[in-house]
Symmetry: C2
Subunit: 481 residues, 2 copies
């Protein structure tokens, strides 16, 4: 049985009132009731008071109280206000037959993962590389050396911060490649970029904290921030990059703790933010004390010119945390990511990592290190870029003539496609799943839950034949719905 909070929120999400801020206010109220801070028959704070405390519009609080009243969570006394309903304890939290001790804090969901867990033949929801494009045989053979080099690697824990040899190699790579001022001490190895985002959110964000996010963005990051109880504040991203005046106004108004950004071959739009904006954005971050969390998993997957240096390169004061997860196109199964950041933030991240899992397995780090330093890697990347561009072109060929709109990406793994208003993406999604085709509906990438005419098509995971056949079928289904 789902925890009470989630049940209510799931129901609310089905109404047109399901805006993220509205949901968060409901969540906040339910959470305090759940915690026993607001007990049965307690009078709830006035709408004016709660709106002030949460810094939201009074109408949002009013709607939240109304919705909770509709669900039987609160009741109204005329001319007096809202009260906590009795029977709260019985309704969902702790059914005798299940481990109901587990409690809903803030919403625990992962919409992307739910989609990706569905087994389908035409997999366009995963922004991953087709394993057939990786040099598997070479890698499997090469990797055996690692066991000869480090015969005790399976018996040894890594340090929490990450293997010293790997951190030395990567910091020297970053210095050479991007002219970053960076030492091995300022790198922390995590198990994938997602762990990095989750750890950083855990350090930085608390309930009702504002966090800037691109609109659209990587939906799992949104779910991580929602889980922390944070308020999502959307920042537009277009083929021209950010609107820095908008960003400044948002920073001034919401005092966000951080801005989660994916500015290079952006997921899902493919946009790369120009160099001139990078420098200015770092200045804004300093001025408004907003940590920039730069997620950079697609940097090497460019089709034309190499992208500009990371935001981290423009930062002198420690306001950028740089998440570099190139294991995605080297050996994704290893889950190796490097986070560059300054002290004292680095110290906190190491402690958070020590509590989370006490360090990424040494084996994975050593295998990654040796493949990464092999001459084979550069050749692999050159070939991979070409293969991905071919994939992208196949997808674009199949979409040509549909009337669908997209900006051709200069890199990355996705097409961000707008369908005509006449097509319901939700209905198309349901039809596609029935025919074993998966993509990501745009709405889950939108912090506001809109963008209902958009979808994300990942062209990197399916092989060329499956890609062509699947997208052709997808466009046929779109004509039908």
């Amino acid at each position: 049985m789902a925890p009470r909070g989630m049940t209510v929120l799931a129901r609310l999400a089905e109404t047109e009132q399901g805006s993220p801020l509205f949901r968060q206010v409901c969540d906040y109220i339910l959470n305090r009731m759940e915690r026993g801070e607001w007990q049965v028959h307690d009078k709830l704070p006035s709408i004016r008071l709660l709106a002030g405390e949460l810094q939201v519009h009074r109408l949002t609080v009013f709607k939240a109280y109304r919705a909770l009243a509709d669900c039987g969570r609160v009741y109204v006394k005329d001319k007096s206000g809202y009260y906590v309903s009795p029977g709260l304890r019985d309704e969902g939290a702790a059914p005798a037959s299940a481990a109901g001790a587990a409690v809903a804090t803030y919403a625990l969901t992962n919409a992307m993962s739910d989609i990706q867990r569905l087994p389908v033949e035409y997999q366009f929801s995963q922004a991953l590389i087709d394993p057939g494009l990786l040099p598997n045989l070479f890698l499997s053979d090469y990797v055996k050396k690692v066991f000869d080099l480090y015969p005790k690697v399976l018996g040894t824990y890594s340090s929490v911060q990450g293997d010293g040899e790997l951190r030395e190699t990567l910091s020297s790579h970053f210095r050479r490649r991007h002219k970053l001022q960076l030492t091995a001490e300022e790198l922390i190895i995590t198990s994938g970029a997602q762990q990095a985002i989750n750890l950083i959110a855990g350090i930085v964000l608390g309930p009702m904290d504002a966090v800037l996010v691109e609109r659209p963005t990587y939906s799992v990051a949104l779910d991580i921030f929602r889980r922390a109880g944070a308020r999502l504040v959307p920042v537009s991203i277009t083929p021209e990059g950010y609107d820095l005046e908008e960003v400044e106004a948002l920073m001034r108004r919401y005092k966000p703790r951080m801005f989660y950004m994916n500015p290079t071959h952006h997921n899902p739009t493919g946009v790369t933010v120009p160099a001139v904006q990078r420098k200015q954005m770092v200045e804004l971050a300093e001025r408004y004390r907003c940590l920039l969390v730069e997620d950079d998993p697609f940097r090497d997957m460019y089709f034309g010119a190499e992208p500009p240096p990371p935001f981290f390169a423009y930062d002198t004061e420690g306001w950028v945390v740089y998440i570099s997860s190139f294991s995605k196109y080297v050996a994704p199964g290893l889950r190796i990511c490097a986070v560059a950041c300054r002290y004292p933030f680095a110290e906190r991240l190491i402690t958070a990592k020590s509590l989370a899992d006490n360090g990424t397995p040494l084996l994975n780090q050593k295998i990654f290190l040796h493949y990464y330093t092999s001459p084979r890697l550069q050749r692999h990347l050159d070939k991979l870029r070409i293969a991905l561009q071919v994939h992208k072109e196949i997808a674009e060929e199949e979409l040509a003539g549909t009337g669908w709109e997209w900006t051709p990406p200069q890199g990355g793994l996705n097409l961000w496609v707008k369908l005509p208003e006449t097509v319901s993406v939700d209905r198309l999604f349901a039809r596609c799943l029935a025919e074993s085709i998966a993509f990501v509906p745009g709405a889950i990438c939108d912090p506001l839950g809109g963008m209902t005419s958009w979808l994300r098509l990942s062209y990197s995971f399916a092989n060329e034949h499956v890609l062509r056949t699947g997208i052709r079928r997808l466009t046929e289904l779109a004509r039908e719905v």
Copy 2:
């Protein structure tokens, strides 16, 4: 620069007022100030009100306000009450020269990790197996097969829940070995037991929630629960196991969300809770709706009889979550752990895992699977038990005649030793570090921060020679301080 909350708490911890509950109340107050819920010159809640809200003694709140006043965080107006001090923003949170956007929520510390990160020659602080006792050459050789069996393993993500083949194998092992009713669907693979504890705490615990913990216990778990803002409620553990009347009284009084327990070759005491208590404890858990989180990393490391079945075996209602992390003595570098639990809790754990790192690397799971099912494993375990018993006896020989007290453990990796009151463990610890000897001071294993005459000696990590020499030196140093 440390976040403000931690600085204050570090200072407070040095006073004799540093009881955990007191610290938590301070933390709670600082946290609300940090969040801006209580702003500069706001009047703080009355002692009576806050004590009621937090369900603590008024004296504890009084002491917390006094301590915060001493530190300049709050000020007093006579006959009016306590107020938030100005200057709060300037003092520590966001120095211009650092990524001060990161904020102290609840205390972010890991005392054990801090100790273990010190490089020493005589390593008795790590409850790990000496890599020399693992069949490294066999394992390194054997593992190469995995790459032949799964040539694309480095290019493939695992499912979030964990590899199906591994879950089938492990669930069948648990059914056979412990007569557990368990399907592969009810197993979730995590990267080590610590990740499991951290994910479960994230699902179950919120600020000021009570959590039962053994006294003493695994200190990293305490740090994880503190981080969640939970209240630690200690449960005694002795050679006879638990005092079930005490446990019931605590469950009745504090309504804990969960009980984190390590009932088999308990860390650090080595105690194994008898079978009869296991059944009764599960009944208590059902009655008081308290989730039992059973951490079981030392089960196979017994010296005499095999220990009784896990608590999970007695549970029919889903009140036990079973964390089985036997990779510690199979191939610790892989970090493979299996969590057994019922739905809907399992579903929440999978979602939490999907947000945390999107699944444990497939490579590690496949290597573990193939070693685990090899005939070599059973022989390895038999030899390892003997080797550990020899280690334990060496440690005991060297401690004989010191007047130190311990209960000889029937399994596990640690001795829990009480020194005479005349010896200061803190001073001994400092002396030992200076001579490159590390152990775990008992106080960090105690949720109350007491047990200052105790220490934990792990006899499993150093080889026999280093073990003997180091412990001999340790006892000499103890005579000196």
